[in-house]
Amino acid sequence: MNGFDIHACDDWLTCQLKSLDTVHAASAVVRKQEMWLEVVSGLDSIAVQFDPARITPVEAINLFREHLSKPQTSRGTLAAPITIPICYEEEFAPDRQWIAQKMGLTVEALIEWHSALQCTVTMLGFMPGFAYLQCGEDVTEIGRLPKPRQQVSAGSIGIIGNQSCIYSFNSPGGWPIVGRTPFTLFDPAKDEPALLSANQNISFRSISRSEFDAISRELSR
């Protein structure tokens, strides 16, 4: 199979890839081709959707393979690194107490630790602009909440193991929450509606409640 592990359904196909880096490189190459209706990355795979009135699944597999075989000179245009301000105050961080306890830290030390993490956006998914982040160290003590919350506020920062996430809309959710950013993760009025993009490097900055309010006010003007 020319080295690619491809499975096709009638209007999309998926290709298993070795690593997240390969996924990001492949999606940058494939996205340049116009015939794909959608190019979606997973954590270790990439899928493209096509119009079966125009190409058959077999033709799609051949084209896709051709596209992936192209010399991958660039890794796509990588979005500039971004610093996300996070307010870790208790009202925005319902789980900070038990997370700190499980990690054997004080709340202050937890905030210091989390705000110093260097992260990469692995993918956007779940909801528009919702970002999955991979952050350096693995913290096995922190798992999914046993019972998902009915309502998690937009901007909430979740953490599970070595992953963090940022909620883009108010929604139900099962990630333990350590803080909240005043940034808008998805603004459909913008040319680039999602604030973050796959493979982007992220750092955090701890902010006070008053700075959170100031940024919120600024953004809503």
Binding site: C9, D10, S45, A47, L124, F130, F186
Partner: protein, 315 residues
């Protein structure tokens, strides 16, 4: 021109074309759950097949009009009443100022589409206007319609023609039992061999946890041979996933863009409009077809529809 909501029903939203090309940002397709009924309704009033219409779910709905309008209703509704008169589904119908439009509940199937001549005003979103309920985007204020909401519509010129009906052969059969053709999903082999056979031999029923995002399928109790957790991977409307509890679910138009459960099958594009007619209790038989056959079926279906509807696609 306006439509005023008198009785909003269970979940009535503005839906037209799906959002395309934004799944990598986490933006789902949304759009009409039954794109075929949408296209048929739009055609009768002279709109593009994927123009925005009113999508009605199960319950009956009442609206009033203040200006003369041309309208058409397709889908699951038991009846259509305009003013004091019973009118047919799948027909071009006129309403006069002050008329109440009463759309009957679904006796079989789930969704109906009310198209009106002209352009229904929706919140503009990524080049479209369909409602995406979960994030409160698009459509009418991003939400389902409520009593007293006023839907605005850019009026199209009405030239009264009579007798415009959907040809009999093109009217979809609305039922509580569907055969859905599927292709094999990438992780079908994560099921035990018995389960891999069972999903195509035993019928399943749509469960109560059913909405535009997805529907749970009962009566199969599948075994997962390979319990290893897979990584989050792309999913699409029509994907059937199987979580560890062995009760698969079928993704609908508002499905999230990635999922972490084995993708065991994919409803073929030609049959995906049927998902919009499923409700709790609907019976489904999944029938496997090859990709080649699925492509053939899709192209045949389009060639049947295009003489009436013009160039179009299903989604």
């Amino acid at each position: 021109m306006t439509l005023t909501v008198v009785k909003p029903g269970l979940q009535t939203t503005l839906q037209g074309a799906p959002y395309l090309g934004h799944r990598h940002l986490g933006m789902p397709a949304a759009g009409a759950a039954d794109c075929l009924s949408l296209a048929l309704a739009n055609h009768l009033v002279g709109n593009a097949p994927d123009a925005i219409a009113v999508e009605i779910t199960l319950d009956d709905v009442k609206l009033t009009v203040r200006h003369p309008i041309a309208l058409a209703l397709t889908g699951a509704a038991e009846f259509l009443r305009v003013g004091d008169e019973d009118r047919a589904l799948h027909a071009l119908v006129y309403a006069k100022p002050g008329d109440e439009i009463h759309i009957g509940p679904a006796t079989q199937g789930c969704r109906s589409y009310l198209a009106v001549s002209g352009q229904i005003k929706a919140l503009s979103l990524l080049g479209g206007g369909s409602t995406y309920l979960v994030a409160g985007l698009g459509g009418f204020k991003g939400r389902a319609l409520q009593a007293d909401d006023v839907i605005e519509c850019k009026q199209a010129a009405i030239s009264e023609t009579t007798g415009k009906n959907t040809p009999d052969g093109l009217r979809p059969i609305i039922s509580d039992r569907f055969i859905m053709r599927v292709t094999i999903g990438p992780e079908l082999s994560s099921l035990s061999l018995d389960s891999q056979k069972m999903i195509f031999e035993k019928n399943c029923q749509v469960g109560a946890r059913t909405n535009r995002m997805g529907l749970n399928l009962q009566g199969l109790a599948l075994d997962q041979e390979d319990g290893s957790q897979m990584h989050s991977a792309p999913v699409f409307p029509g994907t059937i996933q199987c979580p560890p509890d062995g009760e698969p679910f079928l993704l609908g138009p508002d499905a999230q863009t990635t999922g972490g459960y084995p993708r065991i099958a994919q409803v073929i594009r030609a049959d995906r409009h049927l998902i919009g007619q499923l409700h709790p209790g609907s019976e489904i038989q999944l029938v496997p077809v090859s990709n080649e056959r699925a492509t053939e079926i899709y192209r045949q279906k389009l060639s049947l529809l295009t003489p009436w509807l013009g160039a179009m696609s299903l989604w």
